[in-house]
């Protein structure tokens, strides 16, 4: 087409009267928004993962109780009636506390490594 030679008026009319610019901090502000949205998305996914885990666990426990609840209850009653039934309570509690602390320490180590990287 010959519009490079003709259409002079049209081209001038399309030229902005005042050149409009984005502010110089536009890239910075946009990147900040992107990172904020990423953080929100991570938080949302984290919450979703927790809710899903709880729901699946509850469903599993409910299914277990529905299928073998009677047997479990009877076994529990029979164990509790034995004289040495609570011998393992303290070692079990100790193990649980130990693993909780270990988990906490490992999570902190992992977060610190992520910050360095």
């Amino acid at each position: 087409m010959e519009q490079t030679i003709k259409d002079r008026a049209l081209k001038k009319a399309l030229t902005p009267e005042e050149p409009r610019q984005l502010p110089s901090n536009f890239p910075y502000l946009t990147l900040r928004r992107i990172k904020e949205e990423q953080r929100q998305e991570e938080r949302r996914q984290h919450k979703m993962a927790i809710v899903t885990t709880i729901l699946v666990s509850l469903a599993g426990i409910a299914a277990l109780l529905y299928m073998v609840g009677d047997v479990l209850w009877k076994s529990l009653v029979s164990i509790c009636n034995q004289p040495d039934a609570f011998v393992l309570v303290w070692p079990t509690l100790f193990c649980l506390v130990f693993f909780a602390l270990l988990n906490h320490w490992l999570s902190r180590q992992y977060k610190d490594t992520k910050k360095v990287l």
């Binding site: 519009q3 003709k6 259409d7 002079r8 008026a9 049209l10 081209k11 001038k12 009319a13 399309l14 030229t15 902005p16 409009r20 610019q21 984005l22 502010p23 536009f26 890239p27 910075y28 502000l29 946009t30 990147l31 928004r33 992107i34 990172k35 949205e37 990423q38």
Partner: protein
């Protein structure tokens, strides 16, 4: 697309979000030029360009390199602006472009520099897609394939559309002068 840009995109997809700054620095003004013609309020236009770049970032994995990054992001900016305008339900003048007009008549009007103000006013009365099409073609001198990609239309229909827009612009100029 340049190899560096491909590498940068791969890095961004790998979790280095800060590398997206390069694309923001390089292409935001281009996208802004398209949006600001459709949305004259500076603040609205800035926000829409930002929305477009955030969308581009969130869908970066869908960018296949079929076009240049600039064309891709301009398309996103254009569709973002058009959706925004649709939500506002802006009304545009529709005009019957069927009256008998000769191409010479139209060509002469578009060459007459004393009619620039009339033309400017007539351009503001065009629909957003029409404004974008003539800007990209006559002002930015973009290739037809790029324009077709940005506007999401078939490139073989663009010549006809441009012809129709020229006639419509001329009629709008005449309409404005008569009023």
């Amino acid at each position: 697309m340049q190899t560096d840009e491909k590498e940068l995109i791969a890095r961004i997809l790998d979790g280095h979000a800060e590398d997206f700054g390069y694309f923001l620095e390089r292409y935001s003004q281009e996208a802004f030029a398209i949006v600001v013609r459709l949305v004259p309020q500076q603040e609205d236009a800035e926000e829409l360009v930002q929305d477009a770049f955030v969308r581009a970032f969130n869908h970066l994995e869908t960018f296949g390199g079929r076009s240049s990054f600039s064309t891709w992001v301009c398309r996103i900016a254009y569709t973002t602006a058009i959706s925004w305008l649709r939500k506002r339900r802006m009304k545009y003048l529709s005009i019957d472009d069927r009256p008998q007009l000769t191409d010479t008549e139209v060509d002469e009007a578009f060459d007459d520099e004393s009619r620039i103000e009339e033309l400017r006013h007539a351009i503001t009365l065009l629909k957003p897609d029409e404004q974008t099409l003539i800007t990209l073609y006559y002002y930015d001198n973009r290739p037809l394939n790029d324009i077709a990609y940005i506007l999401d239309v078939e490139s073989n229909t663009l010549a006809t559309r441009l012809h129709r827009i020229r006639r419509k612009l001329y009629l709008l100029m005449k309409h404005g002068t008569n009023n």
